[in-house]
């Protein structure tokens, strides 16, 4: 593997409690899944690299607590964030309402250059006999209106999880040649071990 320029990108995950924020990160970082993931208190911090053809993106991920009262801490996370993932649970319409709120708060408060992905998680649970589902078109419409990336995922099966981060990485502006990008030896994590075949990012 040749040495490529590496850029560090601060990413924040937002969304209602129990929509699967931590599970998405766990799948992305360790390719694991836990059926009953403990609620995150305050925040958890993780990093993972994403290899693009001509550069490496190192995501510095702040995984936040979902309960409403922790929202007062949120500005601390999204201050200076270059990327955000707003997550909802496709089987919980209320969580989609919350996702709308997060998107408008990010647009109002966060850096104007922030790249946002809207993610509908738990598609593996969506079925006719499982109650109301947030329609894919609904998520897509919100994403189109607000200029967001949009994907439906399952942290459980791994479907589309890598793609969220690849899409974000691709959309992040490439730094000017002489700017913040630093030369670094690429990490030793064998990212190709991820079984998620549809991933086009080398993550």
């Amino acid at each position: 593997m040749d040495a490529k320029p590496q850029t560090s990108v601060k990413l924040v995950l937002l969304g209602e409690a129990a929509v699967g924020k931590s599970s998405l990160v766990l799948r992305f970082v360790s390719n694991e899944f836990q059926e009953h993931k403990e609620p995150t208190i305050g925040a958890a911090f993780l990093t993972q690299k994403c290899q693009l053809p001509n550069r490496t993106i190192k995501f510095e991920i702040w995984d936040t607590a979902g309960q409403e009262r922790f929202a007062s801490l949120a500005p601390m996370y999204y201050r200076n964030a270059q990327a955000a993932v707003v997550v909802y649970d496709v089987t919980k319409p209320a969580s989609f309402v919350k996702a709308r709120h997060w998107v408008s708060e990010l647009h109002a408060q966060a850096s104007p250059d922030i790249v946002i992905a809207l993610v509908g998680n738990k598609v593996d649970l969506a079925s006719d006999d499982n109650g109301p589902r947030v329609a894919t078109a609904e998520g897509q419409a919100l994403a189109d209106d607000e200029g967001l990336l949009f994907l439906e995922t399952s942290a459980k099966t791994g479907s589309n999880v890598q793609e969220v981060f690849t899409a974000l990485a691709n959309k992040l502006p490439e730094p000017a040649a002489a700017s913040a990008a630093t030369q670094e030896t690429p990490d030793h994590i064998d990212l190709s071990a991820a079984p998620n075949k549809q991933a086009n990012c080398a993550c």
Partner: protein, 535 residues
């Protein structure tokens, strides 16, 4: 309990006496009325006449008897399940003596087993020591199998014994005793049952958010996991539901806050659910006041206190963790916003200094995103479980200062690793991950309590004074609007600067950034004086 023992408690002043808003034995109906009044304040659609008086034995319960019966049955099952723990022997090859997995993300099975081999003889030795101590004071007899429910009054010997660890089988009762649980229980007999039944009958407003977290509480623990592969949940999960619902009924201002599930879960491993409920009330009202409230301001205040203590006692650690995301030191002052109103050079300098000394309290450094959970969850999930319960041994006996001391110790133990870091972002990873691999509680606690460990010993009075100081600064800067200063907006009004000014002046007079060295009463007085002058 004798009055002298009560005096002993109050003399140590873990916290002021807490008086719940009503007293059960008098009339249950009055309690129900009081509660329904509080309930109405939050839900408009509920008519007061709809609120059933489910406790009154004469009126009969509107709540299905079968459901109540089912809950009572599950309570019995939970007690049976708990009684299977002997707290000495590991469950099996992969689980520890509390039912948790020995292997964690940061501790391998081999590491655990190597530690346990050393630790087991240690706890057996400590158990014998405790038995002797308790026999001497007539609180334990070798023939009885039940764990003691009363424990010896405070003394330097007892403190030493507690810091070396309470026998696990006695642990729950000792926590309960030293936290003054028996007084709460005696004052409110039957209240716990009243509350959970009421929560079921009234569709408690937090029921849904509580439900969401029940199965996410200790999913790896044998007591909580549903391991018989049927749809029936573990009786411990049912117990957790009742405790959290009862708490939400009793403390509607707090309701349910994520992390209470973990605190209650640990209490349920060591105590029956009624006592677990009272411990949850006591820990949130006396030991960690306001920490789990709607605005989490109690949590923010304690983070402010922690950051002050780090700044004072661990300057090299502070130089690493006091950083903002932007790489600026959190107590660095931005000339443009802060000294704009200053006219003379002196004023400017004064303001710069005063703002610098408190800026990090108003706008907590990002490291507190990690350390907040240490306090809210009592180190559950931060440290290995054995360390958590050893810390709680000291915490319920000595007071909330223990959490601050432990937090400082963890950061001190991180110091060598922190010093080696060049990328500021790695600081977060280190502070988050290093404690998870601290397998030996004896090392942590010895480091914490040894003399001359380099960062002084914060007293309970000091914690109170610092909480008041931080609370005052935050209150004045945000005018009660937490979002404002968390947002990074700098309040720039004149009053605010005056307050800073005053703080700086008497800090300077006392020759300490924190009014150190002044008697507590004088410090409180000065704080109050400055506050009064200000308004």
């Amino acid at each position: 309990m004798s009055s002298s023992e009560e005096d002993d408690h109050s003399a140590h002043g873990i916290a002021e006496s807490f008086d719940p808003p009503f007293n059960m034995p008098v009339v249950f109906k009055r309690a129900a009325a009081d509660l329904s009044a509080r309930h109405e304040a939050t839900t408009d659609d509920q008519q007061s006449s709809d609120i059933p008086d489910i406790y009154g034995p004469d009126e009969g319960s509107p709540y299905p008897e079968t459901e109540i019966e089912k809950q009572i049955q599950s309570r019995i099952k939970a007690d049976i399940l708990r009684s299977k723990l002997n707290y000495s022997d590991p469950f099996d090859e992969v689980h520890d003596r509390y039912g948790f997995r020995r292997q964690t993300a940061k501790i391998s099975l081999d590491q655990y087993n190597a530690w346990w081999k050393e630790y087991r003889p240690y706890i057996q030795r400590r158990e014998r020591k405790w038995q002797n101590l308790m026999s001497e004071v007539g609180l334990y007899h070798k023939d009885t199998t039940n764990p003691p429910t009363r424990f010896p009054p405070r003394s330097s010997k007892v403190t030493r014994y507690i810091r070396k660890g309470i026998p696990a089988a006695w642990r729950g009762n000792a926590w309960f005793w030293y936290a003054q649980g028996p007084q709460y229980l005696a004052k409110h007999p039957g209240l716990y049952d009243f509350l959970w039944k009421r929560a079921f009958a009234n569709h408690n407003r937090d029921a849904e958010v509580i439900e969401r977290d029940l199965h996410r509480t200790f999913p790896d623990n044998l007591l909580f996991a549903n391991h018989n592969q049927t749809d029936d949940e573990s009786p411990m999960i049912s117990a957790l539901r009742r405790v959290l619902l009862a708490y939400s009924e009793y403390m509607p201002a707090t309701g349910y806050c994520q992390s209470l599930n973990f605190l209650a879960g640990v209490f349920l491993i060591f105590l029956d659910e009624e006592k677990a409920f009272w411990m949850l009330v006591i820990i949130t009202q006396k030991y960690l006041p306001g920490m789990h409230d709607e605005n989490l301001e109690g949590a923010n205040i304690d983070q402010g206190v922690l950051m002050i203590s780090v700044k004072d006692t661990l300057p090299t650690v502070w130089s690493k963790i006091g950083m903002g995301f932007d790489g600026f030191s959190a107590d660095q002052v931005r000339e443009t916003t802060d000294s704009a109103g200053a006219t003379s050079l002196d004023d400017k300098e004064l303001l710069t200094h005063s703002r610098a000394s408190t800026e990090f309290i108003r706008k907590l450094p990002p490291i507190t995103l990690s350390t907040t959970s240490w306090f809210m969850s009592g180190f559950i999930g931060t440290l290995p479980f054995e360390s958590v319960v050893r810390i709680w041994d000291c915490f319920f006996y000595e007071g909330s200062k223990v959490f601050f001391r432990i937090a400082l110790t963890i950061l001190k133990l991180c110091e060598p690793e922190l010093n080696a870091l060049s990328d500021p972002i790695d600081v977060f990873q280190t502070v988050q991950d290093v404690p998870k691999s601290m397998v030996d509680p004896n090392y942590l606690l010895t480091s914490c309590f040894k003399r001359n460990n380099g960062f002084g010993h914060i007293s309970e009075a000091e914690v109170r004074a610092r909480r008041m100081y931080v609370s005052e600064i935050r209150r004045r800067s945000s005018r009660g609007q937490l979002g404002l200063n968390r947002n990074g907006n700098t309040p720039s009004d004149q009053n605010f600067q005056q307050w800073d000014n005053k703080m700086y002046k008497f800090q300077k007079r006392s020759n300490s950034p924190l009014l150190h060295g002044l008697p507590l009463r004088l410090r409180m007085h000065r704080l109050k004086l400055a506050a009064d002058n200000h308004t």
